[in-house]
Symmetry: C2
């Protein structure tokens, strides 16, 4: 089936967002302008213009482009049409491998998984190859893949690596009073205070904020290898949050407070305190993670 116009559809929706802020009857800019705005090629931009002309949203002839009417919800492409197959598949794959309670050493067959997720084997192969770096699956040449298991060993190795990297990143953050990450820390403080003020139901937003906080800390080292690892780990930890629901909101509130203690110490230049508070938080995070691992 090759491609399914996702770039075009997403761009068309974006263009409609753009045009709905304008008055009907007004002249629209050049093709190149639209390309810059939507970050697409001229080919796609022209397809979008042609599509909107067909819908009667605008009139287009040569350089003259006039908006006829405001776009409606009915004109838009549905959200499930604009997601790229690769992105959708990645999400499905993560759901499957991190939520299905696969036993360690389980066999994973590309063809079987492709059928199960309703995607092509080539895509499954890409996903597994990429996920291999996370240390949870391995390839048996000419044969199937093996799930190594989210075991206690895995969790320990992951935590060790994380602590090694993030402690060093924190050290660098504290060492420079003009560190470029500090403005983003101010923003971080605001987000944490806001979330803490809301009620328990808002705690579902914590995992995403946690990932952002740790990625920000990692980015302070300005080392691409740190960032790469932070990204990998955030995927694993994100799913982990949904494994152990016991005392979840209590744990999350406590984690927010720990984050805040770190952030405020950093912002106020109390370096030793920041590092101690961060060590404390890493210890808590480790315990939380290990508590949710099967003791098999």
């Amino acid at each position: 089936m090759s491609r399914q116009n996702q770039t075009f559809k997403a761009a068309a929706n974006q263009a409609m967002d753009l045009f709905s802020g304008l008055e009907p009857g007004c002249e629209l800019g050049t093709e190149a302008e639209l390309c810059d705005r939507l970050e697409i090629s001229r080919t796609t931009a022209r397809n979008v213009l042609s599509h909107l002309a067909n819908l009667g949203i605008l009139e287009w002839e040569g350089r003259r482009k006039v908006l006829l009417r405001a776009p409606t919800v009915a004109d838009r492409f549905p959200p499930e049409d604009v997601a790229l197959p690769a992105e959708r598949a990645e999400h499905q794959f993560h759901e499957w491998i991190l939520r299905t309670d696969l036993p360690p050493n389980a066999q994973i067959h590309e063809s079987e998984l492709a059928r199960q997720l309703g995607i092509s084997v080539a895509l499954v192969r890409d996903l597994l190859q990429n996920f291999r770096v996370s240390g949870l699956v391995e390839k048996n040449p000419n044969k199937h893949w093996t799930f190594r298991g989210f075991t206690r060993d895995y969790a320990l190795e992951m935590c060790d690596m994380r602590e090694l990297i993030e402690r060093e990143a924190m050290r660098r953050l504290c060492a420079d009073p003009d560190h470029p990450a500090l403005p983003r820390m101010v923003e971080m403080e605001r987000l944490h205070i806001n979330l803490l003020a809301r009620d328990d139901s808002a705690m579902t937003e914590f995992p995403a904020l946690d990932a952002r906080f740790h990625r920000l800390v990692c980015s302070a080292a300005r080392n691409r290898f740190y960032d790469e690892f932070a990204h990998r780990i955030s995927i694993i930890v994100h799913y982990h949050y949904q494994w152990n629901k016991r005392d979840e909101t209590v744990r999350n509130r406590e984690a927010i407070r720990e984050h805040l203690a770190v952030i405020q110490a950093v912002l106020q230049g109390r370096s030793d305190e920041a590092r101690d508070a961060f060590d404390q938080h890493l210890q808590t995070a480790r315990e939380t993670l290990l508590a949710s691992v099967n003791w098999s």
Copy 2:
């Protein structure tokens, strides 16, 4: 063209190696036995037997398999036929990307590279995706790849990460007097002493030994993330050795001596000394690497 029987050809050559140690006329084992020995499936084992029967090397009927004559060199498949396309391609790719002096921000086109290396675009895509983790290339969605450049920044980030990991690994190695990596350290010592005793021309073997030494140190932490990084880095460093040939043999001999100082301190339980010597070596390695980077 799909596959080209590489597994079969490699297995056939291996089988011939196996049989050349036997007397003509003797009975050969079962199919399953051959599978275990060559680590192949019965399908391939039977193809091998059938091939060798056609060549007149053995007689095969049902369970009776008799060796007729010793295999000759002419019977063997040439080495270029047994290498898997993926392996060959990876080697070619590494040669190309690490030896061609690409400027930072150079565009890399999958299709162009496929033509240049004489491999399929799908394979090029796989290679680039995998290499992305090394931090030297990045993808522009819907567009080309970009070579980020073996810059001073890259070298610094790589060294920082390496030192962080390897220092921690060394700490763990020293902390445990019964560490399972110690026997391999004894072997390492022997290899280093041997290489040091040989003449300058043998120094071409140093890069491989260096990679082994650092991988062994990493493995002491028994953490898959350390191992993964050590593997990535060894590829980059391997090629780096061929960039700066000035004073090469002198530098290599010095590095061997530094390795030996570390190994012997470790083996004799002088922990502090081992760590100091290792820090010293990491410092030298950093200087060597940085000296070879373009100052652009």
